[in-house]
Structure formats: structure tokens, C-alpha cells
Amino acid sequence: MSDKNSPFFVGYLSAPQALRTFLMVICVVFVSGLAGLGLALGVAQDDPGDGAFRFDYGRQTVTGVLEMTPYPVVRVTEGNERIADGQTLMLSGQGKNSIMTRASPLEGQLVKVSGVILDRGDLEMLQLRGGRNGLSAVEGTAPQMQTEQLGRWRLAGEICDGKCLAGAMRPGRGIAHKACANLCLLGDIPPVFVTTQPVEGHEFLLITGPEGTALPPSAYHHVAQFISLEGDVERRGDLLVLKMDPATVEVVR
């Protein structure tokens, strides 16, 4: 309650002398405190990883065999100085848009793909140009491609969308990014499983549903969580594909 000795502040009158030092100190603490918090929070940001769009490489155009895992990949048969023959590139459209309608009719055929590379370690994805400029059939017979079965595995790690993870966004994984990842996956961007330790030398595996189906809806609930799961692994060129068994997913405690 108010008493005679305490200063009384009225908003439209000048501040009482006895309060001025106190208020001055508060102003200084407030302004410098906010600046300090801005700095502390600004530099507390974690490293988002080294994934990136490689516009510096320029447009990449290679030829290969299109395979649907069901997510489209191209097994390169005629590469260039950056992309070697025998490499396997995951494919995505612009933004979060599906290329399924473009890719499906060309499954198993020899195609020319053109676009910009995203890379992060041994994870590589090609973002196709629009329409036939990005993906078109080429003359010639598609050579037979080997797919090597590597058996059933239990792995621990995280389901991500391959595009953001590869550098379309930094950061491109984690819980704060989960909704974005889901939106990419709904747009048929190839999902990627990041393993805790390399499998046959690979840290990133393209992940699909069982028996060559798309990622099952139940898996969306576990995107960005650290989980363990089982599935069959196969090698397509330099890319491992994990066909997950949805019943085996467990959240790691």
C-alpha cells in the first residue's frame, strides 16, 4: 500500500526524483540485457550440417536407367566429370512437388536427367528441371541393372526427407523440422534413413515401405524421432535401399 515515503509515479507527470535512478538502472539493464540475450541465443545455434544445393557445380545432365523403389532413382550409365558411371541418384522435383507422374511411365527405361545436385556426405540427390528438360527417355536399350540383396537388418537412426537432409534446408532434420519433412514425404520426395553407424559403408539409406511400397502412413509419426527398426536392405549401385517393416519400429529411449 502507498505511504508518504515511497515515490508515486503518475504516467503523465514527470517521474519523481527518487525513482529516476532506479528507472535509469532498469532501462540500462533492459537494453543491455536484451542485446546480451540476442547474442547468447544467436550464437547458441547448432551446426546445421554441411548439406547444400550445389549450384556451384552448375547444371548436371547424365544418362541412366530409371528405377522406381517406388521413389524414383536413376542408375547412371553415362555420367560426367562429377557424376560417375554406376552411381545411383535419388530424384526429386522442384520444391516439395512429386515427379511420380513424370517418372512412372519411364520405369526401367534409359533416360536423360538434368538438374542441380544436392549433397551431404555420401547422400546425393538430383533436383530435376521442369518437364521434359529434367527427365526424358533417350534412344537405346536399357542395360540390365544388378540389385544385390543384403539380408535383413536391425538399424537405429532417424527417418528424414532426403531433400532437406541433403541440403535443401539447413537444418533439414530434427523435431522442429518434422512437419516440413512430412510435407516433403507427402510430395513423394525420397525418404532417407540416417543410421547411427554405417551399414556396409553407408550412413544414409533410401527407406521405403515393405515390398517396394511407399513409406507407410504409420512411419510418418516417427519421422525425426530416434527409432530402431528392421527391414531388408538391398544395394542398387552405390545406394542402399531399406525396405522397412513397420511392425518393428521402436522409439529409442
Binding site: E148, Q149, L150, G151, R152, W153, R154, L155, A156, G157, T195, T196, Q197, P198, V199, Q225, F226, S228, E230, D232, V251, V252, R253
Partner: protein, 125 residues
């Protein structure tokens, strides 16, 4: 229409009704119920967002004034007792939510190694 579309449609309808209420209230209504507003026009656009978001309350208050149901004593009965509830709920709620967040936090399970459960031959059989 999916749920997301329905929610957004609901919001658009809410705002459209709010716009109609704002148009009527800010031009006709407020002069009838608040003498301080008579002859004051420049501040009125500032009230548009308020009417858009709480238009049902605006209609209810307007009705209370117009119908003479305003009870003056209610104007001087601040909900001060709620301070005490807030003083308890806020710290408890903050503690529970943050602890939940901290308990949920996962550590990257770097120690879990991949295990091959069966070889290719077994799979293909």
C-alpha cells in the same frame, strides 16, 4: 474438403461475419452506446481487428447496452481472486511442461550398431 480446409473455411466465415459486424458497429452502433465515441472517427479503424476477432462478444455487449441490462456494479468487480489461481497454475504448468520436454528429449543413439539378422539367401528363400 479435408479438416484443414474446413478449419480455414471456418476462419474465413468468422472473419466475414466480423467484417459485417465491424461495418455496422463502427458506423452506427458505437455512437449510440458510447458518448466518448461521438465525433471521434480517426481511432475507429484501429478497432476493426478487435471486432473481427471477438464479434460475438461485441454483439452481446452492444445488446446489453441497448437493452439497458447493464449492471453498474459489475463494472467495479475485478476478477482479483483469479490472481491466486494464476499464481499457482502458472508455475506448476511451466514446471510440468518443461520437465515433459526434458524427459522426452532423445539422445542420438550412437552406440547402437547395425545388426544383420539374416543373410540375403535366407531372405530370398
Amino acid at each position: 474438403m479435408n479438416e484443414a480446409e474446413a478449419i480455414l473455411m471456418g476462419l474465413r466465415v468468422w472473419a466475414m461475419i466480423g467484417a459485417v459486424v465491424a461495418a455496422v458497429f463502427l458506423t452506427v452502433g458505437m455512437d449510440r452506446i458510447d458518448e466518448d465515441a461521438q465525433g471521434a472517427y480517426i481511432f475507429r479503424p484501429l478497432l476493426i481487428p478487435g471486432v473481427l476477432v471477438i464479434w460475438p462478444l461485441v454483439l452481446w455487449r452492444w445488446y446489453v447496452y441497448e437493452s439497458g441490462r447493464e449492471v453498474w456494479s459489475r463494472r467495479y468487480a475485478p476478477p482479483r481472486r483469479a490472481h491466486f489461481a494464476v499464481g499457482l497454475i502458472l508455475p506448476v504448468g511451466i514446471a510440468v511442461i518443461i520437465l515433459t520436454g526434458l524427459v522426452l528429449r532423445q539422445t542420438w543413439p550412437a552406440d547402437i550398431a547395425p545388426v544383420q539378422l539374416s543373410t540375403a539367401q535366407e531372405v530370398s528363400q
